[in-house]
């Protein structure tokens, strides 16, 4: 499904990501990306989605090298993302922006997405005037449009309560299982990641620590060291 090979990204002299390789082999899984602040999680998302050009390495989707493809091309091929800082269209109503993107990507089930993210009550409000939690849901709903094959969600639960976070992850789990969507989720709430994700990749200081099943990652001494400062 998704293979990342030897991916490196640098900002001037700062090496934000260094030689990261991992694979999401199966479709329809929830794959978590964890790591402390500055681990390179968002940079990894940026490099996979084409927002930032890697200095080295490749990104492959279903065996095709997409490293040099544009962001818009990747989106039309089924790779979508949401952002760490909510990225919506201020000035447009929720309805206008959802319909605009749906018409571009040929989404036949927009009503389902609207209902799934409980946006019907704010549909005719300017998106920048609704509550932050609602804006987050609009952001993720925008990423959901067009029946993507691969969704990259950058801290989707940021700003949400614990109950809302659990509801969001439960929903994502149902989504990936039943629709065969693969979701790559960067999330600070590691409890939610360990609870809901099928596989987890842990990063620290731009390097890959470990990738595997939640239990294996949780007990990996390098992960414990990265989070607690010392190996258990």
């Amino acid at each position: 499904m998704l293979r990342v090979e030897d991916l490196s990204v640098s900002y001037g002299s700062v090496q934000a990501l260094e030689g990261v390789s991992f694979e999401v082999a199966k479709a329809g899984v929830l794959h978590g990306i964890i790591g402390p602040n500055g681990a390179g999680k968002s940079t990894l998302m940026d490099a996979i989605t084409g927002r930032r050009k890697p200095t080295r390495g490749r990104v492959l989707v279903d065996g095709d090298d997409i490293t040099n493809r544009t962001v818009a091309w990747r989106r039309r091929q089924g790779m979508s993302r949401s952002f760490q800082r909510t990225s919506i269209f201020p000035g447009l109503t929720v309805r206008e922006q959802l319909e605009l993107v749906a018409s571009e990507l040929g989404e036949p089930n927009l009503d389902q997405i609207i209902d799934a993210f409980e946006l019907r009550v704010v549909l005719d409000e300017p998106a920048d005037s609704i509550a932050y939690g609602d804006q987050r849901r609009v952001d993720i709903a925008l990423a959901m449009i067009g029946q993507p094959k691969l969704m990259l969600l950058d801290e989707p639960a940021a700003g949400l309560s614990t109950a809302e976070t659990i509801a969001l992850f439960e929903h994502l789990t149902v989504l990936v299982r039943q629709r065969g969507v693969t979701a790559l989720v960067v999330e600070h709430d590691v409890d939610a990641v360990f609870r809901f994700c099928d596989d987890i990749t842990a990063l620290d200081l731009g390097k890959l620590l470990v990738t595997g099943k939640p239990a294996a990652v949780r007990s990996d001494p390098r992960v414990i060291c990265a989070y607690l400062g010392t190996a258990a």
Partner: protein, 348 residues
């Protein structure tokens, strides 16, 4: 959250309501009525001086509508407006005087040439951020002005003396003398302005306009939603330049003259300031601004303190009405509508 996984197809979220369709239809009839009534203005305004002043405001308004469209939809301010006023005026003259084209062919040549030039230049400049974009277009206009006055171009452009035109035949049934006369030129200027306003209104309310506004609001999200953000912006720039070019052609037809002054920053500056005075949030804002500006220029010019009084007036209007004179008119209209609604409710 509700279940998104069930595969049942659904109907679109909202169809256009009968009420909004009714409003659009009513607005369309009102607009057609205004266009038709406007044709009879020379019957009411018999002074050729004031009619000429009004025509100047209309021609300036066409350019201001184009500038306002680009600013409102793309957030781009074009400092080099003069390029697309002067170039088509020169092309009209070159077509008429050097290529022996008839007036219709010369107008077509001028509009197509200027618009094609805009598309070519736009391909380079619309990638720039707003301030570099503004300066690049200014540089373009200044460059064209320099070219027009080159000694080597004198046989073509007339150099500093400008290019005087003689049309071989009439344009839309109007002879050269009639094109120069306010009362007979009026329908052409009026219909061109109405066409420009209609074009901008349609573009603004279309999917194209929505894409432009969304791109202006969040270009990155647009790209991450699968949109090409470059071509729509290039199309908007080209459309704006086309509309401004219409203003240039009207100027050329009316005066039968193209001069380097038309390519000067000051020419575009008038249209820019007029647009700011009127406000760009509605399609009639730039037109209102142009009329006010033209009237102001005449009134202030008579005092002998044109620049000083213009400067004071522009600052005062922009400071008092941040959304322009049209914003103030809309605000007042809403207040009046709100008051009369309250009165009706109280009467019940």
């Amino acid at each position: 959250m509700a279940d998104l996984a069930s595969p049942a197809a659904t109907t679109p979220a909202r169809a256009t309501s009968p009420m909004s369709r009714h409003l659009v239809r009513s607005g369309l009839w009102l607009w057609i009525a205004i266009v038709v009534i406007g044709l009879f203005v020379p019957k009411l305004l018999t002074s050729s001086f004031y009619l000429g002043l009004l025509i100047n405001g209309m021609v300036l308004g066409v350019a201001a509508v184009g500038i306002g469209f680009l600013m409102q939809q793309c957030g781009l301010v074009m400092f080099g407006v003069a390029a697309f006023i002067g170039l088509p005026a020169y092309l009209l003259g070159i077509g008429s005087m050097h290529l022996s084209l008839g007036p219709h062919a010369a107008v077509l040549f001028a509009l197509l040439g200027s618009t094609a030039f805009a598309a070519l230049v736009g391909a380079l400049v619309v990638r720039a951020r707003p301030l570099p974009f503004a300066m690049l277009t200014l540089a373009l206009a200044q460059m064209l002005k320099s070219v027009s006055t080159l000694q080597a171009m004198r046989p073509v452009t007339g150099g500093d003396d400008g290019l005087t035109m003689t049309f071989a035949g009439g344009f839309l049934g109007l002879s050269q003398a009639q094109l120069a006369k306010a009362s007979t030129f009026w329908p052409l200027a009026w219909l061109a302005l109405c066409a420009a306003m209609t074009l901008v209104w349609v573009a603004t309310h279309s999917r194209f306009g929505q894409i432009l506004r969304a791109t202006q609001a969040n270009e990155e999200r647009m790209r991450f939603s699968g949109f090409d953000t470059y071509l729509p912006r290039l199309a908007a720039f080209t459309l704006a330049a086309f509309i401004i070019s219409v203003s240039g052609v009207l100027t050329g037809l009316n005066s039968a003259f193209a001069s380097p002054e038309l390519l000067d920053f000051a020419t575009g500056g008038h249209a820019l300031v007029a647009m700011l005075v009127g406000g760009a949030s509605t399609v009639f804002g730039p037109v209102l601004g142009s009329l006010l500006y033209t009237w102001g220029q005449d009134a202030f010019g008579a005092t002998g303190h044109l620049e000083l009084l213009t400067g004071i007036a522009v600052v005062a209007v922009i400071a008092a009405f941040p959304k322009g004179a049209s914003g103030f008119v809309i605000q007042m209209a809403r207040k009046v509508a709100g008051t009369s609604r309250k009165d009706r409710d109280a009467a019940r």
